[in-house]
């Protein structure tokens, strides 16, 4: 066949163009060293420490302030007040204080360092599938027109809830989930983004956050009370302990120093008590009515919105709500921070990697839906293919680098159609490095099927949908580039 002869030559050319930009993929062995963990290619704006074990927001300055305040105040308390109180009142005071302090720090660190319940972004196939479903319900949009906001309605316990589509994560958000603009993630059961804790508060760390503020309010009240006690007792007992002038001067110096510390502690505790106790009370109310801060602020379930408006997630009585929030099962992290990146797995941000081969009709509807400028092009694969070949190979070529979106992520349809061509382009490369990558990452069991279309396409030479007219390729290529550039600015 005429086309069959031409294609291998073109494939070679495309290969060369691709490898010029990305890291050279001469040997698969270089890849072995560059294996990345998933946290390194995480698309959100989070910071990771300890090789992905710790996850925090980008701005952590206030968190350090929180730590300093707690440590300094507690430190001063244990250093200067506790000896007096232990000897004069009871040693249970520092003991209880110690337990409270350990609990507070534990909860704070747990709330700050754990994954709040981030939802991973959609894989390209999922995004394409959702786009297709949306267009089936809404109807295809005209060229150059942004489709209306996408919502889905679902009835939960008799209450109609709207599920919104997240344009960044390309998913329909589950109920109670929300997108945090600071962290650029969708978080399940999103409560709020807490700068004091340096993280979002969501489904997985809400109980830690609540226990943190609860125990901190106890600790603050505890320290406040006993520092005041110390001051009062000091004022009462000081004159009785002094016999000599030297004693008096020494005690005076110490007492001035202690007074300063005490003043600092009292000031910190006083202001903290109001805010933290207030916050604890507020969150106790939220827990007992099974609402999130987000919902409360928006008044989602308030009776002011309508007569029939009620919270569909509440269990009815506040005890069950409290128990469910604090003692319910702890769901695992969905983002698998420390897992290894499968180089051929489609990353959500770089969607041009090995995706499923869709039949031609589906491709056409994808492309029509997602790229208005290509809507008028009759030939499907020709237009998308050359560009896709370049960028798809950018995927396997720089497999283990961070997945930088070379194309805007709203055109999965293009990738769907184009990769048929692209995968045949990368036939030679894919075959080799795919097998080596299986060696490299044995943890991924079983590896996603999407990882293997490269190899599966090897024997796949002529597919009816892949017949295209090479002559019209160049003109379509320009159009597709323009289309993509336009989309990337959206």
């Amino acid at each position: 066949m005429h086309l069959g002869v031409e294609e291998p030559i073109r494939e070679c050319q495309y290969n060369q163009i691709c490898t010029h930009n990305s890291s050279p993929m001469d040997t698969p062995h270089t890849k072995k060293k560059k294996i990345k963990r998933k946290w390194q290619v995480f698309p959100g704006r989070n910071k990771f420490y300890c090789n992905g074990r710790i996850m925090m927001a980008k701005q952590t300055g206030v968190f350090y302030l929180t730590m300093v305040l707690i440590l300094v105040t507690s430190g001063l308390f244990f250093a200067f007040d506790c000896p007096f109180l232990a000897s004069n009142l009871t040693p249970a005071i520092p003991a209880i204080g110690g337990v409270l302090f350990v609990f507070v720090m534990g909860m704070l660190l747990r709330a700050s360092f754990s994954d709040p319940g981030v939802l991973p972004r959609a894989t390209p196939e999922e995004a394409a599938d959702i786009e297709r479903q949306i267009d089936a319900t809404n109807g295809p949009s005209g060229p150059g027109y942004r489709p209306p906001p996408r919502t889905r309605e679902v009835v939960i316990n008799g209450q109609t809830v709207k599920l919104k589509y997240c344009f960044t994560c390309k998913i329909f958000r589950p109920p109670r989930a929300s997108h945090c603009s600071l962290c650029d993630n969708c978080v399940e059961r999103f409560d709020h983004h807490c700068p004091w804790v340096g993280n979002c508060v969501g489904r997985r760390n809400y109980r830690f956050f609540y226990l943190f503020i609860l125990s901190l309010s106890f600790l603050t009240i505890f320290i406040f009370a006993f520092v005041i006690t110390h001051v009062i007792l000091n004022a009462l007992w000081k004159p009785l302990a002094l016999n000599t002038v030297a004693d008096f001067e020494a005690v005076q110096k110490i007492s001035i120093f202690l007074n300063n510390c005490t003043v600092l502690e009292v000031v910190v505790c006083f202001f903290s008590v109001w805010s933290i106790v207030g916050l604890s009370g507020f969150h106790t109310y939220l827990i007992s009515s099974n609402q999130t801060t987000n919902e409360d602020i928006k008044g989602s379930w308030s009776s002011k919105r309508g007569k029939g408006n009620y919270n569909p997630y509440s269990y009815g009585n506040f005890i069950t709500n409290c128990c469910a929030a604090l003692c319910g099962p702890l769901p695992p992290s969905l983002i698998d921070r420390r897992g290894f990146v499968q180089p051929d797995t489609p990353q959500p941000a770089a969607q041009t990697n090995g995706t499923s081969a869709c039949p031609s009709n589906q491709v056409q509807s994808h492309m029509a839906a997602t790229n208005p400028l290509l809507h008028s092009q009759p030939v499907i694969l020709g237009g998308g293919a050359p560009l896709q070949a370049k960028t798809s190979l950018g995927g396997p070529c720089s497999t283990l680098g961070p997945s930088q979106p070379s194309l805007p992520s709203s055109i999965p349809g293009l990738s769907c159609g184009g990769e048929l061509m692209a995968l045949r382009d990368s036939e030679i490369h894919c075959h080799h490095h795919l097998h080596h990558q299986h060696f490299i990452s044995p943890e991924e069991t079983p590896s996603p099927p999407a990882a293997l279309p490269c190899a599966t396409h090897l024997g796949h030479h002529v597919h009816p949908a892949q017949l295209f007219d090479p002559a019209s390729q160049d003109s379509l290529h320009e159009d597709s580039v323009r289309g993509l550039v336009k989309l990337s600015s959206v």
């Binding site: 589950p174 059961r189 099962p329 299986h438 024997g459």
Partner: protein, 180 residues
């Protein structure tokens, strides 16, 4: 394909899974053969069912793309079993309270030693999915991806092209054996 044998645990046995259903199932002896000799035709996504709230539950509606590939009852059984597993994981009852209180008392350090009930159930789920893939789905040219790998949003079913449909079934077995 020696290199890929190290990747998947369950394919080491290589037991023959022959199906009794005529043109609905092709002969794939193990899942790695399926992947290497078949080509990915489509992916079907089973979305979450939120009518019971935020609990993890998947829609049991039978997708039309699988109409010719698998029997409705088998599919529904799989999804219902998965839903039951997830319900068990997220159940709020005596055991979860005990676990929660114990963890709270130990400042959640106990989870460094033992795994949560949810994690135990997730392991059961992945074993179940593996078993279902081997026994039911792979012989029909389908493959289920564990929802946890997709953020518990969807059950992804990869539909592989039925090579046996274009040629004879013996043709497909020769390609599969040559692909080994």
């Amino acid at each position: 394909m020696v290199t890929s044998s190290g990747e998947l645990d369950f394919t080491s046995t290589g037991t023959g899974i022959s199906s009794s259903h005529g043109n609905m199932a092709t002969e794939f002896h193990n899942l790695q053969e399926l992947r290497h000799s078949a080509s990915l035709a489509n992916k079907v996504f089973i979305q979450r069912d939120y009518t019971d709230g935020t609990v993890c539950k998947f829609q049991t509606k039978f997708p039309s793309e699988l109409d010719s590939r698998i029997e409705r009852t088998l599919f529904e059984d799989t999804v219902k079993t998965l839903n039951n597993y997830y319900a068990e994981a997220e159940k709020i009852g005596g055991q979860s309270y005990l676990e929660g209180c114990l963890a709270c008392l130990t400042v959640y350090l106990i989870f460094l030693c033992i795994e949560t009930r949810y994690e135990k159930v997730l392991k059961k789920i992945s074993r179940y999915i593996q078993e279902q893939n081997e026994k039911v789905y792979a012989p029909r040219g389908l493959l289920i991806t564990d929802p946890i790998e997709r953020g518990m949003r969807v059950i992804e079913i990869s539909v592989y092209e039925d090579r046996g449909s274009s040629g004879s079934s013996s043709g497909s077995s020769t390609t599969s054996s040559s692909g080994r």
